[in-house]
Assembly symmetry: C2
Homo-oligomer: 196 residues x 2
């Protein structure tokens, strides 16, 4: 068998992405070889390099997919959580969901750890900004308009709050007795509401 239908090609492509995503999440980018990926996907190196320019670009595709999944879910939660009485409600609802993502090993490995190292600082930042950071900034800006946060430091505060959330996700993986999802969320809420 040599050539496939377009549909069949799409399927091998998806199989490769699925295998790569699983390996990247469980073993990490560096420890995942292309040979292993294609073996798991039931394909060959030729197929992989036909569909993807490099191991790195395959990783980027996986990274993008995960980020978009996360983005869609948090936005939806924020939208659903909006309340006319509590201006914090939408932000905190989105936060709760992002928080769940940041505590998943897959998200940590791919989005928070290896992503930075693979892409390098610059590319990671510009890509990261388009998603997580812009969402947080939206929430902070909303609170600023309501007079609950100083207008001047919106950007700086957004950066810090997003990173606080990421760190909280990391912390959750260790079964440290002092750290629970609730205590972290509560602490974040304190941080947010403390800003006047």
């Amino acid at each position: 068998m040599a050539k496939r239908t377009q549909e069949q090609a799409e399927e091998t492509r998806r199989a490769i992405i699925a295998a790569a995503r699983h390996l990247f999440a469980t073993e990490g980018y560096a420890a995942t070889s292309i040979a292993k990926i294609v073996a798991d996907a039931g394909a060959t190196k030729g197929a992989l390099f036909h569909h993807f320019a490099s191991k790195e670009s395959l990783f980027l595709e996986v990274w993008n997919t995960i980020q978009l999944e996360m983005d869609a879910e948090t936005r939806a939660a924020a939208e659903a959580g909006r309340s006319p009485s509590d201006p914090y409600a939408a932000f905190l609802a989105g936060t709760r969901v992002y928080f769940k993502w940041a505590s998943k090993e897959e998200y940590q490995r791919i989005a928070l750890v290896d992503g930075r190292a693979v892409m390098g600082l610059e590319r990671w930042q510009e890509r990261d900004d388009r998603l997580g950071r812009s969402n947080v900034e939206g929430g902070v800006r909303h609170l600023a308009r309501k007079g609950l946060i100083k207008e001047r430091n919106v950007v700086a505060l957004s950066i810090m709050l997003l990173n606080a959330l990421n760190g909280a996700g990391f912390a959750l993986t260790r079964n440290d007795p002092g750290i629970t999802a609730d205590s972290l969320f509560e602490a974040f809420e304190e941080l947010l509401r403390g800003l006047r």
Copy 2:
């Protein structure tokens, strides 16, 4: 020339570490080959593998060194900044210095980006806790004793604040017009003082 004096051996060891540190900081861990390290250090692979068990353990030594340098400097600054009138003073003084570190490319690449990827989540966390996190926790605990922070969430808040600082460091490298060292520091101070 075959065998060297102990002093000479120490020197080649230092040369290798220095070359590795520079390359790791400028090119990143993955893009730095052992061949390049020993070429820059004026040594051979044999020498490197005599002094270090692996590329990874060489990286760990560099990582450790940098973390200890940072730790010493921030602790000293916090100590020097202590004030009987302002309970926040010591913490903020230490913060200011850590902040300077987190904005250095060398620290970002080695300590904040590649370190996580190279060590993996678990090892990175347990090592990271012993330094940065424990310092922040000390500061937070001090404020909690003074009644300025809820005693209950000390650990959770420490994690978030440390990560907020790291993120601020990242943000500084991009020459984004909205972000300055001062605005970030000010935002952090707001965050901290907002906790009651």
